[in-house]
Amino acid sequence: MHLAYTPEQQAFRAEVRAWMETHVPKEPLVTLECREGYDQHVEWERTLASGNWGMVTWPEAYGGRGLDLIEWLIFEEEYFRAGGPNRANQNGIFLLGPTIMEFGTEEQKKRFLTPMAKGEVIWAQAWSEPGAGSDMAAISSKAVRDGDHYVITGQKTWSSRAAFADWGFGMFRTDPESKRHKGLTFILFDLNTPGITRRPIRQLHGDTGFAELFFDEVRVPVENCLAGEGEGWNVAMATAGFERGLMLRSPGRFQATAKRLVELYRKHEAEASPAAREAVLQAWMAAQAYAYNTYAVAAKIMAGGKIGAEASLNKIFWSELDRAMHRTAMQLLGAQAELKRFDDGSVNQWLEGYIFSLSGPIYAGSNEVQRNITAERLLGLPRVGAG
């Protein structure tokens, strides 16, 4: 263990900081969950790409900088220090991208990764179906082979970004006789393909960030299948691992929230309860713990290790931390907490953040599912119904 940055790492941090200070929008963008905000965030993706910051860990051949995970963490720290906007393409760069890197053909890597890193193609996920939420193996949307195409029929729901995005990815049942985890195939599709209908769903905050997707005999070329036909479950588990594990929620995000919470506490100290004070300290401690753990996991991966079911511990930790921090902020704001805009006209970011934080323990596999995975795969407890 050596807890000091090299001169090269420090220089890299300075480079990121200088760029972010110049380029991060001074005013917060409108929420990503509406048309206006989506367009602003896509514009930001392209600004990032102009500095070659789209996805720093990817090889240069695919629009990245070929950096290692410590440099990625430094990048993320500086990104959140500067108050960088949410990433419109997170489904692409953090989830699908690493999956394509692992399972894609050379042709698929060239075709999909560079436009993803450059923010030219924005991706939606299409995991859930009305009858397949936590129980993802219950997927029933079909993809039937017809020559060099799949013909997709069915329905996906809670598809993040699907209201406005360009492309989507999801699992479809290619073997009609198959059950559960078998016979599923991971397919990428252009959201503007004829036969796809998007129905935006109004979310808790009133905006429409996610959507239902209806597939009515949608023809998708066979070359859009990732890994082999019937390999979908393995591919999806890898994607879910990226989602719950290292990439989707880097520690900088929570450390920045904890810092803002400390500042909020100072403003409201006179009327704050001792419990709120302790909750603020807990927020800082937990965000730091998450950062130390992430540095340890990054070091392990760089030494040739892998992240497995431990990703479930991560997902439980960051999602419940995020909710706790925003709950504390709401308590500190007191009667102002319900205001969508404060007296000075500024958006109540804590309220927006609190609402968003309530989705954390649900998306990317509900925390109940994560606790089952932890208990069964890490602790070795028997599966339900074993006897």
Binding site: K259, L281, A289, A375
Partner: protein
């Protein structure tokens, strides 16, 4: 920047873990509880492993290792619920003597001939010392009334750090015991560990322990590196480890049901050590206050760019 525990560190910890698992099982705890609490043969085994000399410089007959190594082994001592005063003498006392340039006892400590009681103003007792005996809830803890006027801050940090390291080991062990019990205890026609009501509680313990450990290793490295902020990190570690261990202790007894409330199930040894160490070398309130002074008081830079401040 490298937060990786080395192969050497992990394999040393594994060696000690295996040794203690083989020689210091629950039957030993029960024997010690029935008969005198301390056993020179157990102590000699630890000496023969080189553990009393772990932090003693090679020039004085020790292994010359660092606080991260010691914290990893303190975790193993917690896991085994070790009763001998190894952690106090070898992992807290030795670096404290070294910091003062006092080297005359080191060879004797490494050779196992001397143990170091560590009176400190933060504690209302001294462990394995002299004086009027006090009775701890932990049946294997030997406490004595003592005039503690030493308020040395480095000794306090060492004591708190090594308590935190033991607490995560204790927590690991209690979680393991609860999991094993959940596999074999059958009710309603299935192992109780198959019920989500049990699984989810134990999973929450696993989360708390997983995220307490790197805080402890980070604090050990900070103290080793003499970082100006080391005391804050030690306090963070003590709070995180205490919370994880207390949660796991309460969950483990709940999973054991009425069996967990008996003296005959081994769990109680670990649980009581956890209660004892939770308040030793600074209470939760004491350590939280030090974090408070740093974070809300503004003496420590915070935010994403200050992960290792």
């Amino acid at each position: 920047m490298d937060m990786l525990l080395t192969e050497d560190q992990l394999s040393l910890a594994e060696t000690v873990r295996d040794y203690l698992a083989g020689t210091h099982g629950p039957e030993i705890l029960r024997r010690l509880d029935a008969d005198g609490n301390r056993d020179p043969a157990i102590w000699q085994g630890l000496v023969d492993m080189g553990l009393t000399g772990l932090l003693v410089p090679e020039a004085h007959g020790g292994l010359g290792m660092g606080l991260v190594d010691a914290a990893l082994l303190a975790t193993e001592c917690g896991r085994a619920c070790l009763a001998e005063p190894l952690v106090d003498t070898a992992f807290v006392g030795v670096p404290w003597l070294l910091a003062q340039g006092k080297t005359e006892q080191l060879a004797d400590i490494a050779a196992g001939r001397v143990t170091l009681p560590l009176p400190h103003a933060i504690n209302p007792w001294v462990a394995d010392g002299e004086g009027a005996p006090l009775q701890s809830v932990d049946p294997l803890r030997n406490l004595f009334a003592s005039a503690n006027d030493n308020a040395d801050p480095y000794l306090l940090d060492l004591g708190a750090l090594m308590s935190a390291a033991q607490l995560v080991g204790l927590a690991d062990a209690m979680l393991h015991q609860a999991v094993e019990y959940g596999k074999i205890r059958t009710q309603f026609g299935q192992p109780i560990g198959a019920f989500q009501a049990i699984k989810h509680q134990l999973a929450s313990c696993a989360v708390a322990i997983e995220f307490a450990k790197p805080v402890v290793w980070q604090a050990a490295q900070a103290l080793q590196d003499e970082r100006a902020s080391a005391a804050v990190h030690v306090s963070h570690a003590k709070v995180a480890a205490t919370d994880a261990a207390m949660l796991t202790a309460e969950t483990a007894i709940q999973v054991h049901g009425a069996m967990g409330y008996t003296y005959e199930v081994d769990l109680h040894f670990w649980m009581k050590r956890c209660w004892a160490l939770a308040g030793a070398w600074g209470t939760r309130a004491f350590h939280l206050k030090r974090v408070d002074e740093a974070v809300l008081g503004g003496t420590l830079p915070i935010g994403p760019e200050h992960t290792f401040a």
